[in-house]
Symmetry: C2
Subunit: 328 residues, 2 copies
């Protein structure tokens, strides 16, 4: 089984993407198609001599520049890496894709080359929200700013199927992200979705707030792409903000700095558990193929884990399970 890697997608590429593929090949014995400009990939591979077996270069001459509108560029540059990788997937040359590129570009390329799963109205981008357990799958976090109730029901089915197949969770607990104020059980969309989810055959636990998610009372959280995107961005910004604040406070005095040296490993552990690189990316669900979206800032280790996630998803029969989910 070959997993395609969009080598040029991400903030720290091709250095970290290629290094991640080398790790995945060496440590996990994976077969990986490195999709991107051949010369750049060869230069990077030269840094890892002897190059492990299992790495294949698939040339994609066009690169999407930082200054281009990503989704539009995807439609114009048919030989950009993300498009070449998607076509490889569609033609059976790869079983899954990993990209740390702009999510709008990944969604556009997936819709352009793979299309949607039968019966699914809209694909959804997912992410992992920190929780006491291994993290909660939340979707949609940005593919659909405006959602109809039926979209969220489909998201719920797809998210539950993913968690069941990939993590082996039986009857995953599904929650609807909502607000807790009395006499205002959410906006019109949430109220409508609530009723629909109650009638579904899902293990629907009802409305959840952020504290419920963090406490690990659900496995999957559904929301519209606007709220989901804000949720994910707030989480990221706040964690970054807090760690910066702690660092600044610690650096302000010599005896703080000494004490912090002792605690370095403890901090690293905490941070790692909250880190995107551990989760190894999250799926774009609802398109006709296994697409794992890794974080834009992914380092080699994060790419390695995302590649493993793609392999696990591809070998789990996820796609046929997703095809079988109820669409209403």
């Amino acid at each position: 089984m070959i997993i395609a890697l969009d080598v040029m997608g991400g903030d720290r590429v091709p250095r970290e993407s290629v290094a991640g593929a080398v790790q995945a090949a060496k440590e996990l014995g994976m077969q990986i198609a490195l999709v991107g400009p051949r010369n750049l990939i060869e230069d990077e591979l030269a840094r890892h001599a002897p190059v492990p077996e299992g790495l294949h270069i698939v040339d994609a001459a066009q690169v999407i520049g930082m200054d281009e509108a990503p989704a539009q560029a995807v439609r114009q540059k048919r030989d950009a890496g993300i498009n070449v990788a998607m076509r490889l997937l569609k033609d059976g040359g790869a079983a899954g894709i990993v990209s740390a590129g702009n999510t709008g570009a990944v969604v556009a390329a997936a819709l352009l080359n793979l299309g949607r799963l039968p019966g699914i109205d809209r694909p959804a981008i997912s992410a992992f929200f920190p929780s006491t357990e291994k993290g909660v799958l939340i979707l949609d976090v940005g593919a659909n700013a405006n959602c109809k109730p039926s979209y969220l029901v489909q998201f719920a089915h797809m998210g539950a199927t993913y968690v069941e197949r990939i993590f082996g969770v039986q009857r995953p607990r599904v929650g609807l992200l909502n607000i807790g104020e009395e006499e205002m059980k959410g906006n019109d969309l949430a109220q409508d979705v609530f009723e629909k989810l109650q009638k579904s055959n899902l293990n629907f636990v009802g409305n959840v707030e952020a504290k419920d998610i963090a406490a690990g009372i659900v496995d999957v959280v559904v929301t519209d792409g606007f709220t989901g995107n804000v949720t994910v961005k707030v989480s990221e910004a706040l964690l970054e903000f807090l760690f910066t604040r702690i660092k600044t406070a610690i650096m302000s005095k010599a005896h703080y700095r000494l004490a912090a040296l002792v605690l370095r490993d403890a901090f690293r552990d905490v941070r790692r558990k909250l880190d995107y690189s551990e989760s190894g990316g999250a799926p774009l669900l609802g398109v006709n193929g296994i697409v794992i979206v890794a974080h834009g800032r992914s380092d080699a280790y994060a790419f390695r884990n995302a590649l493993r996630t793609a392999r696990d998803a591809a070998s789990s029969g996820l796609l046929s399970a997703l095809t079988a989910v109820p669409k209403k």
Copy 2:
């Protein structure tokens, strides 16, 4: 000038609310009407002998129980503290109110007793979001799950007026909470509000994401009450989650615990700067009176600061400034 305190509103009352009023009277020389059951207030005051000048008891016999639906209870129990305090405000017996009670109840009581400001369609609950500077006012965070574009424009005007009057910020920078994905500049609501804010006479800086708010590039952020509530809840849950994680990691080894002792003050500083108790509550804007909503978990110090905020707001001419803001 007298500020009314809803003594029984909050999680740690009447102990902390009365203690906060005592602090405000003693340290800030404030005049405070303690509104609640007379006997309970007297018992608490006895703990602070000699009681400082400036504290007045206004008996409110009815108490809203933990098991009651707050907003409904407000309508049924006309002699609940929050209603008595609002009537005091309306009749000129107080210049402002502080409550740490359920926000749904506070909003209901304000609408019931004070009504809206002329031309304002909906009141908005505000909150402070952490930032590199002193915190950013975000509204609505829960009064209106469904919003029309015009509501958000009114929120923007009211928020800017508040920040200008209370913090002396000239031409406050206003941002619209939105998502950054390309080719999807937010949902329909955000797109519509964006255009309206551009045409306003506000200092509108455009769309902002959480990282922009944290970086302090705006003074006021507007959003609908659903998204705003999720944002605030996510922030709270995540900070709580992270501090718990750090604590657990530190307690796991003896030498970590020793090092953490040294860092205790540094941590306390970081936490305090993020703490609701420093901000001293946030205004309910759009009702015909100065209403400061304090955090449900407020301690004495938080109540003291909220009382000070109410006094500052009342003496700043905020209400007449709010009455003068454009409504479209």
